[in-house]
Amino acid sequence: MNSMMGIIRLDGSSAMLKELCEHRPVASLPIAGRYRVIDFALSNMVNAGITNVGILMTEKARSILDHLRSGKDWDLARHREGMYYMPNDSVDGRAPIGNLSGLYNNLDYVQHSSGDYVLVAKADSIYNMDFNKVLEYHQSTGADITFVYQTINGSIPGTSSVLKVADSGLVKDIYKSPNVEAGSDVTMGVYLMAKDTFINLVKTAFERGGTDLLIDGIMRRMDEYTIYAYRHEGYMARINSVEAYYRASMDIRKPEVWEELFMGENVIHTQRKDAVPVQYKETAVVTDSLIANGCEIRGEVENSILFRGVKVAEGAKVKNAILMQHAVIGKDAVIENVICDKDVVVGEGKSLKGADTYPIIVSKGAAI
C-alpha cells in the first residue's frame, strides 16, 4: 500500500502579515484574485490522490470553516473519509500552545485512518507540486522523515527553517534563521513519514512537554531519525510577511508563473462562485493585470490584481495594487502601491499612495 493521508496545519505566526491577518489565519488570506492560501496545499494533496485530509484548527478559524465547508469543492465531501476538522481544544484546562497538542488530541483519528503515510503541510505557501513524487523519493531513500524544501534565489524576510542537505539528500542539520540569504535550502513546511513514525513522534514529544512539531518532535531528536529532503524545483512562495504577500501576488501575474500554478494538469481548486465574466466598458484601459470574474471596469488598471466583484469607475487609476473582493474605486480616484482588504470603498477623487517597496494596507470594510 502506498496511500497517504494529509494533515494541513493552520497554525503559524502571522504577526508580520499585520492587518491582513488580524481576523484570519494566513491559510484564509485571499490571494491571486480568487484563491485562499490554503487552496494550494489542499489541492496539491487532492491532486496526489489523497482522499483523507485533516485540518488542524487554530483560533480565528471562522473564515476557514466558511471557505472549506464540507470540502465539496475539493471533492473531499465523501461517504468514506474526506475532509476532517481537527479541533485544537484545551488540555486539562490549559489553552493549547503550539501545534503538538492539537495533533496529540487527534491521534486516534490518525490511527484509524487508512493511510500508511502522513503528509503534513502548512497552509502558508503558494505552489503546485506532485506529492506522489515526494512519496516515491521517501520510499527510495528509506528515510524516516522526508522534508520538502526549496533552494531560494533571493533573500526572504521572516523566520525560516533552513536545512543543511548533503548531496545524497540526507539532512545534516536543521535550524531556524531570522534572515535567509540566496542559495539557502529552506523547508516548505511539508513533511512526510510513515503513520507509525508520526504517531510515535507526536506522542513522545507532547508527553515530554513539547509544543511544536518541528522543534520538539524533530529538531530535538534529530539523532533518532534518518531525515532526507526532497527539492521542489517549481515556483514557491511562502506568505509570512506583507512584503512576501505583495511579492508573491505580483509574481503570479507573470505569465510563466500563472501557467505553472494554474493551467497545468493539476488544477488548484477553490470555493466555487457564480460570478459573471469581467465586464470591460468603453473607457477601460487594463494592462499587465490579473482580473477576477464579477469585476466591472471603466477606469485604468495597471500592474494590479483585482479580486471578485471589484468596481473601478471612470477616470480612476489603479496601479501596483491588490484589491480584494468587492472593492469599489470611485470616479477619478488614484490608487497606487496599495493592498485593499475585502469590501473597501474609495470615494470619488480620493488619492491613496504607498511607497514602492512598502504598500499601504487598507483594512477590511474601510471607507475612504
Binding site: 494554474f262 466555487r272 465574466p277 466598458k281 494592462t287 493585470s289 490579473l290 470574474n293
Partner: protein, 377 residues
C-alpha cells in the same frame, strides 16, 4: 419522495439545426452563451431561483455533453435528497423504442415520471431562450385565476409576430384563440413556450392526443388548440423584460452582443443569479500590450492583443497584435499572434493561426466549428 407542488420539465432534446455547425456535436441547450454559461443555465437557474426543486430535463439529440454538464445538478443547487434534476432521455419499452415525436409526446412518454413525483402543477419549459423569470409569480397568477393552463406570452414587434405562435386574448388575459405563425396577426403576444398545466388536465389531454394518428403531438400545434376548442380555461401571463430566442446564428450572436452594452438590457450580475458549472480556472491575465474594451472576458484567458466588443469564454488565448472585434470566442480557442477575427463565432478549441483572418459581416456572422484550425492564406 415528499410531495412536490410544481414540477418543471425542460424540453432539451432539440437539434437546433438552425445553429448549424455549433450544434454538430452538442444539443442546442448545451451551446455556450455569455462568456461562461450554456443556454440551459437560464431555465435551470430560473427554476432554482423560483423555488422549483424538481426538474426533469428531456434530452434526445446528442445528449452526451448535455448529460455530462448537468451531472447531479450540483451547479444549480439541484442535487437534493428529495427532488433535484432528473435526466429523461427516450427509452425502450417492451413494445419497442420510440424517439420523442414531438413536444407533447416527450412529456407523454414521461407520464410515469410525473406520476412518481406526483405534482399539482407541471411547468413546461424549453431549453433555447435567454431570459430571467420568476416562475413562482406565474404559478401564483395561474392559481389566482383558477386556470387549467397558463401560457407565458411576450410582446414581440408586429413585424416579427408572423414568425411566432400568437395568442389572441380578451381584456382579462384569457386566451380566446391561438394562431401558429399567422400571416396577418391580430395580436403581438407571442407564446414563449412556457406552460403551466394543472396536472390532471394535462394528463387527460396527453393521453387523448397520444392515440391520434393525425396528431403531430406538439403543444403549440395540437394540444393547446384542442384545449381551446374544448373551451378550456387558458390564460396568458405577460412577461416583461429581456427574452431572446437564440435559435439562429444571428440571434445567438446578437444576444451575446446585447451583454456588451454599457447598460445591458438584462443584468447577469443581478440578485437573480445565473448558475453555471464553474471549472477551477484562475482570473484572466491581460498583458502590458493588451487593449480590452466593451467586452466580457472569463477566467483562465490570456490576452496580449486587442479585444473590442467581444465575448471571450474561459481559457481563450489572444496573441500579440491579434485583433478580435464584434465576435464570440468560445472556451479554449486560440487566436494566435497577428490573427484577425471580426463578426465571428469561434467555437471551442479552435485555433486561428498566426496571421490568419476570420472576417464575417453583420447579418453574415462567420462560424468556425469546434476544433477547427484556420491557417493563414
Amino acid at each position: 419522495m415528499s410531495k412536490t407542488k410544481c414540477l418543471a420539465m425542460i424540453l432539451a432534446g432539440g437539434q437546433g439545426s438552425r445553429l448549424g455547425a455549433l450544434t454538430k456535436n452538442i444539443a442546442k441547450p448545451a451551446v455556450p452563451f455569455g462568456g461562461k454559461y450554456r443556454i440551459i443555465d437560464f431555465p435551470l437557474s430560473n427554476c432554482a431561483n423560483s423555488g422549483i426543486t424538481t426538474v426533469g430535463v428531456l434530452t434526445q439529440y446528442r445528449p452526451l455533453e448535455l448529460h455530462t454538464y448537468l451531472g447531479t445538478g450540483n451547479a444549480w443547487d439541484l442535487d437534493q435528497q428529495s427532488g433535484g434534476v432528473f435526466i429523461l432521455p427516450p427509452y425502450a419499452r417492451d413494445k419497442g423504442a420510440d424517439w420523442y415525436k414531438g413536444t407533447a409526446d416527450a412529456i407523454y412518454q414521461n407520464l410515469n415520471f410525473i406520476d412518481t413525483v406526483d405534482p399539482d402543477y407541471v411547468l413546461i419549459l424549453s431549453g433555447d431562450h435567454i431570459y430571467t423569470m420568476d416562475y413562482a409569480e406565474m404559478l401564483a397568477a395561474h392559481k389566482a385565476r383558477k386556470a387549467d393552463v397558463t401560457i407565458g406570452v411576450f410582446g414581440v414587434s408586429w413585424e416579427e409576430a408572423p414568425r411566432f405562435g400568437i395568442m389572441n386574448c380578451d381584456t382579462e388575459g384569457r386566451i380566446m384563440e391561438f394562431e401558429e405563425k399567422p400571416a396577418k396577426p391580430k395580436s403581438n403576444l407571442a407564446s414563449m413556450g412556457i406552460y403551466i398545466f394543472n396536472r390532471e388536465y394535462l394528463d387527460k389531454y396527453l393521453k387523448e392526443d397520444a392515440v391520434l394518428d393525425t396528431s403531430s403531438h406538439d403543444f403549440g400545434k395540437d394540444i393547446i388548440p384542442k384545449m381551446l376548442g374544448d373551451n378550456g380555461c387558458l390564460f396568458s401571463y405577460a412577461f416583461e423584460g429581456y427574452w431572446k430566442d437564440v435559435g439562429t446564428i444571428e440571434s445567438l450572436w446578437e444576444a451575446n452582443m446585447d451583454l456588451l452594452q454599457d447598460e445591458p438590457p438584462f443584468e447577469l450580475s443581478s440578485k437573480w443569479r445565473i448558475y453555471s458549472s464553474n471549472p477551477s480556472l484562475p482570473p484572466h491575465y491581460l498583458s502590458p500590450e493588451a487593449v480590452v474594451k466593451r467586452s466580457m472576458v472569463n477566467e483562465g484567458s490570456m490576452v496580449k492583443g486587442t479585444v473590442e466588443h467581444s465575448v471571450l469564454f474561459s481559457g481563450v488565448r489572444v496573441g500579440k497584435d491579434a485583433k478580435v472585434t464584434d465576435s464570440v470566442v468560445m472556451p479554449f480557442a486560440k487566436i494566435e499572434d497577428g490573427a484577425e477575427v471580426q463578426y465571428a463565432i469561434v467555437a471551442q478549441n479552435c485555433v486561428i493561426k498566426a496571421g490568419a483572418k476570420v472576417i464575417g459581416a453583420p447579418g453574415a456572422i462567420s462560424v468556425i466549428p469546434e476544433g477547427t484550425v484556420v491557417a493563414a492564406e
